[in-house]
Symmetry: C2
Subunit: 333 residues, 2 copies
């Protein structure tokens, strides 16, 4: 819907609710097959449950034009990036958007407004491809954010999947502790911490399993931190326990501060050699340093040996971004 | 403020802000000493940080009239009940109410409206004392809920103290996993689960320590449940993981359903022998069965050997309540 109305795109789709999607104005055409849907496309978006996502991406890559960018919207990224097996047309994607309601009947043009939309290129991802998807996502209203697939999955394990597992644990633990007792009316910390307990078992089991290694690592970390807290409480002096509580407060404020963002952007221009992976490398280098690329534009030189790239980054990071590009051997104007 | 305006009580207090409290209409008299404050009192409410609460309760019991009910508002109960050493005048209390702001300047008559207010009698607590405090708390606008001190502390450990420790753990874990990365905008599960991370370190370290044994037990339970979840994810089949997720959802709904309450009440009348502990035993027996006493009234017989007790309980529990009293040898009308 956003692609049609905001970008003037011609949008084809294939899936169960294709005709309804046309009726609602989310699609121009409903197709019976992936082959029909991707015929002549500039961009293909793959949306499927995480456990079959890799297979569908492979099908789409096999059928899409040689110049078509292929991306997805799955909530874990290493598996699907691995399934794309270094195809330069693929860049992983994950929009952090959603609503209480699902399905094409609830399609909204503004669903992605200001939403973070992770893009996870690999080394082989083509610069033109990454730029096209980056601009497409911006055009939908979202804020693209480039990050390596493994970093994405570790972050999601820490800030989403682990809290879901922990919510379940708190509920199961409390059910045991309360016996037949009523949940105290005013248990705001418990209510907040357990809001997502038992969320859609089919979907969430799929997500846990798709991100298993990263989630196991976060679970191990959480268990260790709980054991450390237990030890401080059992045997530590009160001062150390208080320090621990205060430290959590500081970290919490830092994480929240870091997530504010949204100030002015500044532009960086550079000329880069036209070889595979350069743009992906730039984007990942900045992403790892916590520098978000708010806008990106790529113009090949007439002889196609080089390209001119324009990157917009938050004003406060412009000097560090230039320095990081310098370390990659890329001169910045 | 509520006691003065709703119960017509004459309220004396002692503490740093006594004069300001008089100015604001929260007190009739500000006293310089506990002795002056409790002189001739029917009820004494002790409010102090948990680490000194037991000592202050002992002081108050030493100075209060022999017929004065003494209660407190501390957030853990076993320690303070132990400090009262079986004095029949003492019943522990814990109102689940509070606001973003603290201090006498923010005193409000309606702070306790519909708030759960736990009362934790011990065997030695006098029936007249428990009834008086129960009625007083109802009169302030709160919903008294009788529970044994150890059950109270275990419940609070599970639904409040553990979620606070877990919030810290999630923050510390995420700070490590994110490195310099920004917290994703849309991390609602993380934001909800960590809202209380690092809450007032002085106060919360005091609460953790005052409820140490119960909190250690809940921490051990949570660690075990996390390890079980880890094992299911690492080695279990998908079906068992999905069952686990679904089970958490069911427990969650049960806990939320159980906390709705608030329907019609029915009255039970009984004649009980006038010996210490009978009323406390009745209240605790019903509390353990998850049956809340919404109203209580006690009338001694003329010769003072027996008492007539009226108990209001939720209508759906009236038969079970009668059966439980029957098991205690108390005939119900």
């Amino acid at each position: 819907m956003a692609a049609r109305r905001r970008l003037g795109a011609h949008v084809r789709g294939t899936g169960r609710n294709g005709l309804r999607a046309v009726e609602l104005g989310a699609l121009d055409e409903a197709c019976l097959t992936i082959e029909q849907a991707v015929h002549g496309a500039d961009i293909a978006l793959v949306c499927a449950p995480v456990d079959v996502l890799g297979t569908v991406v492979q099908e789409v890559l096999a059928l899409a034009p040689s110049t078509c960018a292929v991306t997805d919207v799955g909530s874990t990224k290493r598996d699907v990036v691995a399934a794309a097996a270094g195809d330069e047309r693929f860049v992983g994607g994950h929009p952090l958007a959603g609503a209480e309601v699902a399905g094409v009947d609830h399609a909204r043009e503004d669903l992605f407004d200001n939403a973070t939309w992770y893009l996870t290129p690999q080394e082989g991802t083509g610069g033109v491809i990454l730029e096209r998807v980056h601009r497409f996502v911006s055009g939908l209203g979202a804020r693209p954010h480039v990050v390596a697939p493994a970093d994405h999955d570790r972050m999601m394990a820490a800030v989403s999947h682990l809290p879901h597992v922990v919510a379940n644990v708190l509920v199961i633990q409390a059910a045991g502790a309360l016996g037949g007792e009523r949940l105290p009316q005013a248990g705001p910390s418990f209510r907040d911490a357990t809001r997502v307990a038992g969320a859609n078992p089919g979907i969430w089991t799929g997500i846990y399993r798709a991100n298993r290694d990263a989630l196991l690592e976060q679970l191990d970390g959480a268990i260790q931190h709980l054991e450390a807290a237990r030890e401080l409480l059992a045997n530590g002096d009160p001062g150390r326990l208080e320090d621990w509580q205060a430290q959590a407060g500081r970290r919490h404020r830092e994480l929240l501060d870091a997530s504010q963002g949204g100030g002015a952007s500044r532009e960086l221009r550079a000329v880069v050699p036209n070889r595979p992976g350069v743009i992906a490398q730039i984007a990942l280098t900045l992403g790892e340093a916590g520098i978000n690329i708010t806008d990106m534009s790529l113009t090949p030189s007439p002889d196609n040996t080089r390209g001119s790239v324009l990157l917009a980054v938050p004003a406060e990071h412009v000097q560090r971004a230039a320095a990081l590009l310098g370390e990659l051997g890329i001169a910045v104007a």
